[in-house]
Each structure stands twice: as structure tokens, then as C-alpha cells.
């Protein structure tokens, strides 16, 4: 079994590294599909036994880093989801990126990305986990910057990496605090950590997870990350990077001081509602989906806030299925409509592409929680866990969750209406076979993932009839708001309900612009100050200034010695007298 744990990470990583050296497309395709497929196989094998392995990776004397992998039932479930989504993304990309010169590195990077996520999922050592955590960030950087001709791509890529890395300042510090106070980095052996250290460590780690999962206040990187190819968005949003933050929080839930979870709750609540509003106001297809991801991951954080790890993972899995489906479908639709994905111009008749229409419909229905799709179960259990917890955090996330459900229904309904029911090209378009197969598999997954409620490794709260009712009411309220606005005036976007604030909300409450401006001007000012200190004060003034002063003194000294015999005698006599006076004076004094 330990072999399966190793291979789970090593095979896609090896496929990725090998792929980086390839130039030709043919072998690259094979490696691209083989990597995640092998990982998927390993994950499935690992499900049949307790796969665990560890050996010492680095010995720093007072603490050791172990290459420890441990695949519990829940971890296997997440690993299967990650590997499967990666595999489907690779399959889909073969068609999606046909004719792309840089396909080979792209496929290799996706494989590395997949390996990194699987490492995060399987690692039982925080430092070992950190490897996957950051490699994932680096891969996201490379993948988002994939389109060489898109001017926004490099900036968006750098932003994604830097914002998550900024969170990692906290994450690394938190991990180190945890390691110092527990004497080990093994998650399974953390045990009792002193209250103070645990508080500091978990707040710091939370900061890192908030960054990775694009939660408030570090949500700014995710919407611009749409600059990457659509399959990359599917990968980042569905089962890997964004979910990793929530996943790590669930792993570390035992260390959390219970009182502190209210911090998570506040972040989750703000994210769920704010991002829901932004999704409603968003002006392009992928923008809606991006903000919906932020909002849905907020649900996972909400589950963490009520200390219900399995519920969070349940939502993670169902979200993985429907979000991957949504993104991959969106890619197909945008390609068919041949637009930039703006909601203003992208319109498709349902009859033009039945597969895409139904895939989109199922995905959106699952997201808003239509029974019996996966999203219904997972969202209901999240609210159920909050309801049952009886803590302040529970109350906060419960009501935020209800509001967010209304919003989810509203933005999903709006997207569906605007995409499919405003006319559009009539000619039917075929979806290529790799793309279609990915959609089929994900569609099935979206429908079937709810089965995890009945069987599987997750322990989630029972369904509550009253909560189900509440959820359905919220759903209907959301749909009603959109539908009402739509039928009143089909020519206009239902987001007009937001009034004048629409543009402001669509920009994510201008947080991105503000953060970018603040970061730019802050960096510029700090850099200027540092250069002033370093180059002007230290270098020019002190170092080179002393050299200049020495030269000036030298010129004066030299000039002072010119003047022949008389000057010489004066200098000599004066000097000798000074020496004598000093000698006599000091000796008499002491």
C-alpha cells in the first residue's frame, strides 16, 4: 500500500518533469494523460487499504522533516477527485489547445500541478505539505501566464502567485510556530499544543489558507486568474488550489482553539455573501463562475468554522464535480459563440449544442442545490452542521449561508437565462470527442456525488427537513428575483436590480483595484525609501563619501607640504614640539 501512496505523487510529478523537456506534441499528449491516470489508479488502490509511508527527509537536529504520506479515507476521496478532475482537464485540453505551440509545457505543468495537489492531500508532514502547497502556486503562475499574446496574462499570473505567497508568509510562520511548540511537523503527532502557540499558529495558517482559497480579504487574485486557459480555471477552481486551503484547515482542525473559529466564520460569511453579490453583477461568463467559486469555497470555510471537517470535504467534492463541469462547459460554449466570454455578446441557443446546454444546466442546478444533485446534499449538510453547532460561529455562518444560497440561485439563474435564452446562432456545433467525454464524466459525477451522503468515508450531519425546506425556499426566492426581473424586460440584464452599485460590485467591491493600487504604490514607496537608504545614504554618502573625504584631505595635506625648506622646518619644529608636549603632558598628568 505504501507503494500506492508514493506513486500517487511521484508518477504525475515524474510525468510533469519529463514533459518539461519535451518539445513535440505527440509524446506530450501521452504523458499528459498518463500522469493523472496513473495517479487516479493509485488513489483508487489506496482506497483499499491504509496507505502510509514515511522516512526522514531532512534532519535539522532539534526537529525533523519527514516525507510522510498518509491516506485516510477522506484523503483518498479528495485525491480521487483531484486526480479525476486533472485527468479530465488533460483529456479536454488535448482538444481545447489543439494548434497551441506551447501545449507540451502546458500539459507538463498541469501534471506538476496535479502532483502538487496530491502531495498536499496525502502529506502528513506540514513541511512536506508545504512543498506541494507552494509548487501548486508556482504552477498556477505558469499556467495562468500560458497565453503569450494576452496582455493581461503575465500580470494576472504574478498576482495569483504573489497574493497566495503573501498568505504564505503567514502560513510558513504558522507552520514553524506549530513545529517549534509541538516538536514535530507530523500532522498526526501534533497532539496538545499550548493554547497561546496554537492561537498564533492557527491564525497565521488561516491567513495562508485564506490566500490560497481566495477568501476575504485575499480574494483579489482569483477573478483575474481567468486570463489563463479555461481548463486551467477548471483545474484551479475545482479540485485543486482553491480547495487546498479549506482542505488543510480541515486537517488541522484538532489544533484549533474552539473560540478562535469565529474568525474563520467571519471570513467565510463575508466571502460567501460578498462574492455572491459580485457573481450576480459579473459581466462575463467566467467572471460569474470565478466569483461563484469564491462564494462556494466560503461554504467550505463555513463548515470548518463549525468544526465539521467532513462536511467541508463533502462540499469540496461536490463543488469539484459541478465547478469542473461548469468551467469546461463554459469553455466549449465560449468557443462556440466565438466571443471573449462577455455576457453581453455570448448567447447560444439550447438547440445549438444540447450537450453543452444540459451540462451547464446540471452544473448550475447542482450549485444552487436542486435535489437530488450533489450540491443539494453538500450545501444542506453545511447548513445543518452550522445549525447543530450552537456556537456564535454557527449562527454567523448559518445566516450568511442562507443569504448566500439566495444569491447563488440568483446568479446561477441569471447566467442560465442570459446564456441560453437570448437567441444566438442557430447552426449546431459539435463538441469534440475528448471535450464531450470530459463533460459526460463530470455530469455523471455531479449527479452522483450526492451518493457520498449515503455511503463513503465522510461523516456528515443528517438531513433536516426544516433546513431542506429553508434551502429550497431560499433557492426559489433567488430564482424568483431573477425571473421576475427577466420577464419584466428581457432586453436588460437582471443585475440592474443592484442599481448604481452594480459596476462597483461587479469589480469585487473594487477590492482588486484598491489592493493593486495600494500594493503598487506601497511597493514603489518602500522601494524608493530602501534605495534612498541603501544607495544614497549607505553607498553614496557613507562609503563613497568617505572616499571623497579622504581624497580631499589628501589634496590638502599635499598642498600643506609644498613650500620648500622653510615650510619643512616649520612643520618639523611644530611637530616635534607637539610630540614632546604630548609626551610630557601625559606623563605628568598620569
Amino acid at each position: 500500500m505504501s507503494f500506492a501512496a508514493w506513486a500517487l505523487v511521484a508518477l504525475p510529478a515524474a510525468a510533469g518533469l519529463a514533459g518539461l523537456t519535451l518539445r513535440r506534441r505527440g509524446p506530450a499528449v501521452w504523458l499528459a494523460v498518463a500522469g493523472p491516470a496513473a495517479a487516479l489508479g493509485c488513489a483508487l488502490v489506496a482506497a483499499f487499504g491504509d496507505a502510509a509511508v514515511s522516512y526522514t527527509l531532512a534532519d535539522f537536529g532539534s526537529v525533523r522533516v519527514e516525507a510522510a504520506l498518509e491516506l485516510s479515507g477522506t484523503a483518498v476521496a479528495v485525491a480521487v477527485a483531484s486526480a479525476l478532475v486533472s485527468l479530465l482537464v488533460q483529456v479536454y485540453s488535448v482538444a481545447y489547445l489543439r494548434g497551441d505551440e506551447r501545449y507540451a509545457p502546458f500539459a507538463a505543468q498541469v501534471n506538476l500541478f496535479c502532483a502538487a495537489m496530491l502531495l498536499v492531500v496525502a502529506a502528513d508532514d506540514l513541511i512536506f505539505l508545504l512543498i506541494g502547497w507552494e509548487v501548486m502556486g508556482a504552477c498556477s503562475y505558469l499556467l495562468i501566464a500560458h497565453y503569450a499574446k494576452l496582455p493581461a496574462a503575465p500580470g494576472a499570473a504574478a498576482k495569483a502567485f504573489l497574493v497566495t505567497r503573501f498568505g504564505d508568509v503567514g502560513f510558513v510562520l504558522g507552520v514553524m510556530v506549530l513545529g517549534v511548540s509541538a516538536g514535530t511537523f507530523r500532522i498526526g503527532e501534533l497532539g496538545e499544543v499550548p493554547e497561546g502557540a496554537a492561537t498564533a499558529a492557527m491564525l497565521l495558517i488561516l491567513f495562508g489558507c485564506v490566500g490560497k482559497s481566495a477568501q476575504f480579504p485575499l480574494q483579489v487574485w482569483l477573478p483575474p486568474a481567468m486570463a489563463g486557459p479555461t481548463p486551467v480555471s477548471a483545474l484551479i477552481h475545482a479540485a485543486t488550489m482553491v480547495a487546498a486551503g479549506a482542505y488543510v484547515l480541515t486537517r488541522l482542525l484538532p489544533v484549533w482553539p474552539p473560540d478562535l473559529l469565529v474568525v474563520v466564520a467571519v471570513a467565510a460569511a463575508a466571502t460567501m455573501v460578498g462574492a455572491g453579490l459580485s457573481a450576480y453583477a459579473a459581466t462575463d461568463v467566467k467572471g460569474v463562475l470565478a466569483w461563484s467559486t469564491v462564494s462556494q469555497v466560503g461554504f467550505m470555510f463555513a463548515a470548518v468554522a463549525v468544526a465539521s471537517a467532513d462536511t467541508a470535504l463533502f462540499h469540496l467534492l461536490s463543488h469539484a464535480a459541478f465547478k469542473a463541469l461548469l468551467f469546461l462547459t463554459a469553455g466549449v460554449l465560449i468557443a462556440q459563440a466565438a466571443t471573449d466570454g462577455s455576457l453581453r455578446t455570448t448567447r447560444i441557443r439550447p438547440s445549438a449544442s444540447p450537450l453543452a446546454f444540459w451540462a451547464m444546466t446540471i452544473g448550475l442546478a447542482s450549485m444552487i442545490g436542486v435535489p437530488p444533485l450533489g450540491g443539494f446534499y453538500s450545501k444542506e449538510t453545511v447548513l445543518g452542521a452550522a445549525y447543530e453547532s450552537g456556537t456564535t460561529a454557527g449562527v454567523i455562518v448559518f445566516w450568511a449561508g442562507v443569504v448566500a444560497s439566495v444569491l447563488t440561485a440568483a446568479y446561477a439563474g441569471r447566467l442560465w437565462l442570459l446564456l441560453f435564452w437570448r437567441g444566438g446562432a442557430a447552426e449546431t456545433a459539435t463538441v469534440s470527442r475528448p471535450e464531450a467525454s470530459a463533460l459526460w464524466v463530470l455530469g455523471a459525477g455531479t449527479i452522483g456525488v450526492g451518493g457520498l451522503y449515503f455511503a463513503g468515508p465522510l461523516h456528515v450531519p443528517e438531513l433536516h427537513l426544516d433546513l431542506m425546506t429553508l434551502l429550497l425556499v431560499a433557492l426559489l426566492v433567488g430564482l424568483y428575483l431573477v425571473g421576475d426581473s427577466w420577464w419584466r424586460d428581457r432586453a436588460r440584464d437582471p443585475s440592474r436590480l443592484l442599481g448604481r452599485a452594480r459596476a462597483f460590485i461587479a469589480s469585487g467591491f473594487a477590492a482588486d483595484a484598491a489592493a493593486t493600487a495600494a500594493a503598487r504604490s506601497g511597493a514603489r514607496a518602500a522601494s524608493a525609501a530602501a534605495r534612498l537608504l541603501d544607495e544614497q545614504l549607505v553607498d553614496r554618502t557613507v562609503v563613497e563619501g568617505s572616499a571623497r573625504a579622504a581624497l580631499a584631505t589628501a589634496r590638502r595635506t599635499e598642498a600643506g607640504h609644498r613650500g620648500g625648506l622653510v615650510r619643512y622646518l616649520r612643520l618639523s619644529v611644530a611637530g616635534t614640539l607637539v610630540v614632546a608636549v604630548i609626551a610630557i603632558g601625559v606623563n605628568l598628568w598620569s
Binding site: H561, G564, G575, T576, A580, N587
Partner: protein, 463 residues
Amino acid sequence: MESQSIDHAALLPLYLAAATAAVALFAGRAAKAATMIGLAASGAAAIWLAAGPTRRTFAVDDWFSFTADETAMGLAALFAALTLLVAAISGRTESEYLFLLAVSAAGGITLASSRDLITLIVAVETLTVPLYVLVARPGRDGAEAGVTFLIASITASATALMGAALLYSAAGTVHFAGLAPALAEAHTGLVAAGTALLLGGLAFKLAAAPLHSWAPLVLERAPLPIATYLASASKLGGAIAVIWVVHFGLAAGAGAEAGLVLAVLAVASIAVGNIGALVQRRTVGLLAWSGIAHAGYVLAPLAALSTASGRENPAAAASAALAYAVFFVLLEAGAFASLTAVRDDGGRIDELGGLWRAAPGPATVLLISVIGLAGLPPALAGTFAKVAILEWLASAALWMAIVVVAGAVVGLAYYLRLARTVLLGEGARARPRFTVAVLAAGLVLAAASLAPGLVLEFTSMSQ
């Protein structure tokens, strides 16, 4: 006082040097050869004596005025060798020129063995007086240099004599061995004044501040071979005079006073010399100014006597100072000799541009010397010199070590400029002369670099 027997063997190098001077006067056209042979013989005799047991002579009770120990004879041999080098690189073969050189060498040879103030000052004068004539080149500039040197020298001698007189009045003896116990009892003001004047006067020969400013003027205007002599043998004489007075005479009884005076002299020399050298455009000017700084480095180990920990081991101070002085004069001799080989006068530094290609042999010796003066490998002789003084100062007077370090840093700035001009500049044309002599100087430097023990052993002072 009964008449005593004189150990003539101990005086053999001196006799040979004096005889050389006499022969040179009468040898006519063979004067140069005769001088060189005579000096070589004198040096060989010194080495023979150094290898044998210590000889002493001219005693008053237990106090000997003349001691021919390993150190003294090693230095005597060095004097002979340096004078030999100067004779070899001199184009002039007149009898009187060589006579004066040989007389000066005889002064140096005596100096190393002297153990009382009178012998010492007489020896210094014997070393110096012939130079009054030698430094003066024909013409107005030469005359001014000669007059400056004459007056400066006389002033310095007067100062030194005044100091000696004060010490005599305080201690009642001129013998080094007698000074020590007597000075400890004497009036401190008197001792301090005597020490200050004596050391200040003697430091003139070393071109240490405040009696330093003759050096750039005179060295620049003197003929290059004589500048070589002034920068090497004559400076060695000054160094020995100071070290002897301090080590044999003052350390035990007036170490603190001497240390203080020397500290002032050393710091002033290091500062003035390095700073002055920084803006020199002329080769000899640069070497002359930097020589002032090196005089400071020679004095620096002795300056540690001003601290209590320094006074615990005065022999180490003297050893370090002497070792530095010897390495330093070897490097100076190398630098000036190689310069003499390629130029008639010092000239501007720029004029040496590309000497490396024009005259590889002398340029190599010049580079080794200059880099050695900067204290850097691969010219290890200079590095060992720095190690010798810094090792002592680090244990005795850390602050003085810092001063030396600061000086060396400034020093690198101008030495590097000279070195890179020779290496990478352009424009020099030269027809090297005196190849054998310069090569010999280079070989000595190489030997001192690879086997520093040659220098360090005979300069190590006991007692």
C-alpha cells in the same frame, strides 16, 4: 680603568666596509668592482659571525657598547647587501661616489651592533653624512634637495642629541643596559622630554612624522640609485636606531613614555603618509609618501609599549618592528631598484603604463614589490610583514592594530593604481638595465616570500 682587549673578529664586517671605502678611493677604474667585492666580503663576514656565537666588546664593567649577535650581524649583512645593490645599479663609477657609499654602509654596519647612545648616534651620523653629498644632483633642484636634506638632517641630529642629553642627565649613563634601571627612578617629565626628542630625532631617518616631509622632496630629486639607498638602507638604519633605543634602552625603565611617543609618531605617520600618497601622480613621490606610512607601521608595534600588556613582552614588540622593517626595506629596495632599471628619473606614474609588456623582468620585480608593500599575496613577503606586526598588536594593543588596518586599506588604493598602470596601462618604452641586480633583488623577495623564516629568525629578539 684598565685598557681592555678588543675582539677584532666582532669588528670584521666594519673593518671590511671601511677598507672597502679606502680601496675605492684608490682603485681608479676598478673602483666599482672593488667596492662590490669589498661589500660582499663584509656581508659574508657578517653572516659568518651570525652563524657563530655572540661576541661582545668595548665593555664598561658589564655593559658592552658593541655586540655582534645573530641579529646585529644579520642586519649588517643586509646593510652590505643593500649597499651592494645600490652600487650595482649605479651608472656612476667615480671613486668618491663609491667611497661615500661604502662609508655610509660602514655606519649602518656599526649601527646594528651599537649598544650605547653615543655609538648609536655616531653610527647614524656616519650613515647619514655621506648622503648629504650623494643626494645632490647637479642643478638647482638637486642643490635644493641637498640643502634640504642637510638642514633637515642636522635639525634631526640636534633634536636627537638634545634628547640623548636629557636622558643622560636623568639616568647618568649612555649605556642602554644602564639606562633601564636608572630611568625608572628619574623624573618623569625629564624622561618624557628626553624620550620624545630622542625618538623624534631618530625617527627622522625613518621619515616618520613629524620629521617626514623631507622624504618626498629629497627622494624625488635625488638620483634614483641614491633614492634606493635612502629608501632602503638608510631607512633600515633609522628603524634600527629607534628599535635599539627603545628595546635595549627604554623599554624596561621608560617603556610607557617611549610607547606613548611612538604611538603619536606611528599614528601621525600612518595617517599623513597614506593620505599624502593618495594624490601622488609621480612614482617616486608615491613611494616616498607611502614610505612615511610604512615608517608608522614599523613604529606601531613599539607603540604597544604604552599599554600594560604590551610592556609585558617588549622583546616581541621589537621583533615585530624589526621584522617589518626588514621586509619593508627589501620591498622598497626591490621597487626602487626595478624603477632604476627602466628609468633615469622617477617620472609620472602614467609613464610606467604597460611596463609589463615593455620590460617584463623589472616590471615583475616592481609588481611584486608594490603588491608586497600593499601586503597582499602573492607577494607574501609583504603579507608576512603585516602578519608579524598585526599578530603582536592584536595581542597587545588592539586599537593600534585597527589604525594599521585603516592605513593599509588606504594604502591599497594607491598601490593598486600603480600596479594596474604597470600591468594594464599603455605607453611605456624601456630598455632595461642592471638585469642581474634587479633579478637578484627579485629572487631575494621570492625567497623571503617562500621562506619567511630567513627573515623572521634573525629578526627575532630575545631578552
